[in-house]
Structures are given as C-alpha cells and as structure tokens.
C-alpha cells in the first residue's frame, strides 16, 4: 500500500490537473494587478505587456472606506485582529476549562447557551446590538469594534477550548492541587500550556475571521477612519467600478499578510485544524 507505483503516479498527475482551477484565478489576479492601466482593450488572459507597480502604489495611497490611506486601513486591521485574538484566548481558555471539568447540569446548560450563540445567525441580533452601541457612543471606535468581535467570536472559542479539554487527562491538575496550588496558578502554569494546540486553532480561526470579515466592520466602522481592509477593498470596488487592476492590487495588499503567515506556519496551522476538529 505504501509503494509508489504506476497508479500513484497517475493519481499525482491527476491531482495536479485538478489543481489547475485553483491556480488559474491566482494567475489572473497577478497579471491584472501588474497590468498597466493604459493597456486596455486587449486580452484579459495575456501576461501584462509591461509589468508595473503603479497599481500597487496608487492602491496604497488611495483612501478607502473613510480611511486616509490604505496603510491606515492595514494598521486598523492589524490592531483590531491582534487585540481580539489576544483577549479571546485570555477570556475563552479559562471558561472552556471550567465547562470541560465541571460535570454538573448547570455547566451543561451554560455550554448549551454558548452552542446556541454559536449557531445564531448574525443578522437577528445585529440591529439591537447596533442600537446599544450607538447609545454607548461606541460605533466608529476601535474599542467598540473589538468589543463586538470579542462577543461574536467568544462562543466559537469557548466551544473549541471545551471540546479540546474534555479529552485531556486530569492527572497534572490534580497533582498541582494536591501540592496546594490555587486555581488561578493551576490554570496559568499547568492547564494553559497543555491547551497550546487548541490555542493555535482558536487564534487561527478567529484571527482569520476578524481579518477577513466585511459585514461587521462595515456596520460598525464603515465610512470612518477606523475601517478595516475588507471595507477599504469594498469601497475601491464602489469607486473604481471595473477598474480591475486597481481593485486586484488592493485585494493583493489586503491578502498578503495572511498568505505570508500561512506560508510561514503552514504545517502547524493544518495540524491544529485537523486535531481540534476531531478532539
């Protein structure tokens, strides 16, 4: 079964042919983003006659979604994503730990509430939530946006942590407890380090969601200087209709940090994904 026979070689070639539809759009994005905007009327398939960075430069300096420049939207995205992921891990890991370790009916009910929140469509609570945030003067602010993302992603983080920790043995914690360690110390020194794979998945999934999210960012920071990258890209599409070279240059700039991170931590991202999905 493990030999590399003719059938395996056939499978390998077949999968690469299957991968062509994955690659074709990447080729089109790259050729379009580097195509000079004066090069019109030609084929959309041909490589650019004279590859240029002018689209990138223009996209970088253009304002998008109320931000002064693309770099400001990039800064907003980085700050919002990092803050949300950090706070999520700090707040969700202890909650997941407790829910996994307590076998009471109450903990089952609380876990059920988190699960209910997890499958709740975002639209149903969006208007009341928006009304509350307007009342509190938090719309169009970073604190407000971070708070909303924290609340929206908390159920998923708690769900993943609980599921992961249910499968872990209790021996280490018990040993620490017998030695007289207090709950907070047991958690920080013993439990949290054991949760590392789950933390990786929580950070990856929620970080990706916040970085790529459009709807929430549009509702809470659209047309302000706190808008994130997807809102900026969206406003590009609105302002430069069918100016695909500019739009794709902006899209590439928005996706580049995530793709670089994925290339860098590919193995651990994939391992984390599959381990928690089955945990």
């Amino acid at each position: 079964m493990n030999g590399y026979g003719r059938w395996t070689a056939f499978r390998e070639v077949g999968l690469w042919i299957g991968a062509l539809p994955m690659l074709a759009p990447v080729y089109l994005v790259l050729t379009t983003a580097f195509r000079d905007r004066s090069e019109t009327g030609g084929s959309t398939l041909a490589p650019p006659a004279a590859p240029t960075l002018s689209n990138m430069r223009r996209a970088w300096t253009e304002a998008g979604g109320g931000t002064e420049s693309f770099s400001q939207a990039l800064f907003n995205s980085v700050l919002t994503t990092c803050a949300v992921v950090l706070l999520l891990v700090v707040l969700a890991a202890p909650a997941g730990y407790v829910l996994a370790r307590r076998g009471s009916r109450l903990s089952a009910v609380v876990f059920g509430l988190f699960t209910l929140a997890l499958i709740m469509p975002i639209q149903i609570g969006m208007i009341p939530l928006y009304a509350v945030m307007v009342e509190a003067g938090l719309t169009g602010t970073r604190v407000g946006l971070i708070l909303v993302y924290l609340g929206l992603e908390m159920p998923l983080a708690v769900f993943l942590y609980t599921g992961y920790f249910r499968g872990m043995p209790t021996a280490y914690e018990e040993a620490a407890r017998v030695d007289g360690a207090r709950p907070l110390r047991v958690f920080v020194q013993i439990v949290f380090p054991l949760m590392r794979p789950a933390t990786g998945v929580v950070a990856t999934l929620t970080g990706l969601f916040v970085w790529n999210d459009f709807f929430v960012a549009l509702v809470f920071t659209g047309d302000t200087d706190k808008a994130t990258l997807p809102v900026a890209v969206y406003s590009f599409v609105g302002r430069f209709t069918a100016e695909w070279p500019l739009i794709f240059a902006a899209a590439l700039l928005a996706a580049a940090p995530v793709l670089a991170l994925f290339a860098f931590a590919q193995r651990s991202v994939m391992k984390g994904f599959s381990s928690t999905l089955h945990g």
Binding site: M1, N2, Y4, R11, G14, G18, A19, P21, M22, P25, L28, V29, T32, T44, L91, P94, A95, V98, R101, L113, F114, L116, A117, I119, M120, P121, Q123, I124, G125, I127, P128, L129, V132, V148, L150, G151, L152, M154, P155, V158, T170, P183, V186, L208, N212, D213, F214, V219, P230, V233, V237, W244, A255, V258, L259, A263, M270, F273, S274, L277
Partner: protein
C-alpha cells in the same frame, strides 16, 4: 473521569459569558421579540402577532427555495470534493504537502475578495467568455451572473472553490487514521476498492462527515458576502438568500420587525439542520 470542581471556579466563565450575553444572546432575544412587531427603528414598535410571518410566506417563498437549492448543492458539492481530495492526498504522493497547501489557500482569503475575483472572471467581457470564444465555443458564451440558473450555479461553484480545501482538512485526519493493515487484509480477502471504501474507510469517517455536513449547512444558510459581491441578489431577486433578504429588509428598507421574523425562521432552519445531522448518523449506529 474524575471531576474536580474546586480547581475550576465559575468565576473563570463570567467574562466570556457576559460578553456572549451582551453581544449575541441578549440582542438576539430582543431581535426575536421584535419579529412580532412592526418596529422600524424610529417609532414605537406595535405588536402585530404573526403578521410578519404570514407576509413572508406570501411573498418570500422564492427566497426559501433559492436558499434551499444553494444549501443542498453546496453541502453535497463541498463535502464530496473535500472527501475526494482527502482520499487522494492522504499519503504516498510526493507532492502531497504542496498540493494540500494549494487547495487550502483560498480558504485563507476574505470571501468578499474571492467573490470579486470570480465576478471579474465570470464578467461578460471576462476571461471565461474569452477562453470559450477562443476555443470556438461561442454558443456557450453568456452573461454568467446575469441569468438566474447560471448565477445560482456560479455562487455555489465559487463557494466550493474557496472551501473544499478546508473540508479536505476535516476529512484528512480521519482518512489517515484508517490502518493500512486493515485495508490490505480486506484486499487479500478479495474486497474491491469500492467495497474497501464503503465498509472500512467510510464508517471510520462518520464523525468527520457529521462535522463537515453540519459546518457546511450552517454556512450555506448564512450565506451573504458571496451573493452580495457576485450578483447583489439579482437578477430581479433571483439569487437572493435568506441572509441577503433579511439584510435588505432590515437595513435597507428599515423593516426591522419583518427582517427579524425572517431571521427567526433562519435560526429555526439552522438549528433543525444541525440537529438532524449531528444526531442522525450517531443514532443510526448506536
């Protein structure tokens, strides 16, 4: 397993629980209540009973049908392709790590950006029609996103393109956990490839299949970004889903009460689908 409540104090749950209540459960409850009113966000809401639901079933049935079509095609498509990729890339291939990464990359990019890329490709003057024209297949050239049938198919294809790699990951660990010895023994006993898949691999993948179908069903019902970017719900509402319909009614037309009623039906659908799929396979085997 021994539980030790002493070292797991409830205080640890309070911040996470409070944020979830504040941002999700509280507003959702309020939204659910407003489904029975004519709230428009400005005037005092008036209780209207089930009138919103009645109105939706009168005029919005097309949206339900479209959502169900998209959900069914997406759930079947993305899980079939994901499972196929997992089976093909489980082991032995020399370039399996490169290929896995390649199939996963689209899932890392914003659905909005991916949808815009495909809007460009499927445009009337876009690359797809150009390829078809160059290949002499002019009869196939058409405004892909301008006709209801092809537009619905296109939305599903774009979603499958983006997320089949993610579903591959869900199945990969399951496929890899199937022991080679077991498959070899079955082969020696004369079991063909299909029987080995059906009787050995598939039963072991049952938990992963439950997760995969549940996740894809939930995301299909909540579908929003891709439809807004690709078709905006057009032509003539022909690709509107429950997600875009709720958004338009509530945020664009200011009919919050009516939008909430439709969103409430959406919650019901998602809960039902999740329950059937998570319970179903387990119950049958137990």
């Amino acid at each position: 397993m021994a539980k030790n409540p002493q070292s797991a104090p409830w205080a640890f749950v309070v911040p996470a629980g409070a944020l979830t209540l504040l941002c999700v459960l509280g507003p959702s409850l309020f939204g659910a209540l407003s489904a029975f009113t004519d709230w428009d966000g400005l005037t005092t809401p008036r209780w209207v009973g089930l009138a919103n639901f009645g109105e939706f079933f009168g005029e919005g049935s097309g949206v339900v049908v479209q959502t169900l079509i998209l959900a069914a095609l997406y759930v079947i498509g993305v899980n079939a392709v994901g499972l196929g990729l997992a089976l093909g890339l489980a082991n032995t291939l020399r370039t399996r790590h490169v290929l896995r990464a390649l199939f996963l990359v689209p899932a890392m990019v914003s659905p909005l950006v991916v949808a815009y890329i495909w809007k460009f490709i499927l445009d009337v003057d876009g690359p797809l029609n150009e390829v078809l024209g160059n290949a002499g297949l002019d009869s196939l050239v058409r405004p892909w996103l301008g006709q209801r049938g092809t537009a619905l198919t296109a939305i599903v294809m774009v979603m499958i393109w983006q997320f089949s790699g993610y579903h591959m990951l869900i199945y990969l660990a399951g496929v890899q956990s199937v022991q080679d010895e077991l498959l070899e023994a079955a082969q020696v006993d004369g079991a063909g490839a299909w029987r080995r898949f059906r009787d050995i691999t598939l039963p072991l993948l049952r938990p992963a299949l439950a997760i995969g179908t549940a996740l894809s069903t939930i995301s299909a019902f909540m579908l929003f970004d891709q439809v807004m970017a690709l078709t905006g719900g057009g032509p003539a509402g022909g690709t509107d889903t429950l997600g875009t319909y709720v958004y338009k009614q509530a945020f664009v037309n200011g009919r919050y009460g009516y939008g909430a009623a439709v969103a409430l039906l959406l919650v019901g659908g998602v809960c039902l689908a999740a329950l059937v799929q998570v319970r179903g396979p387990r119950g049958r085997r137990a």
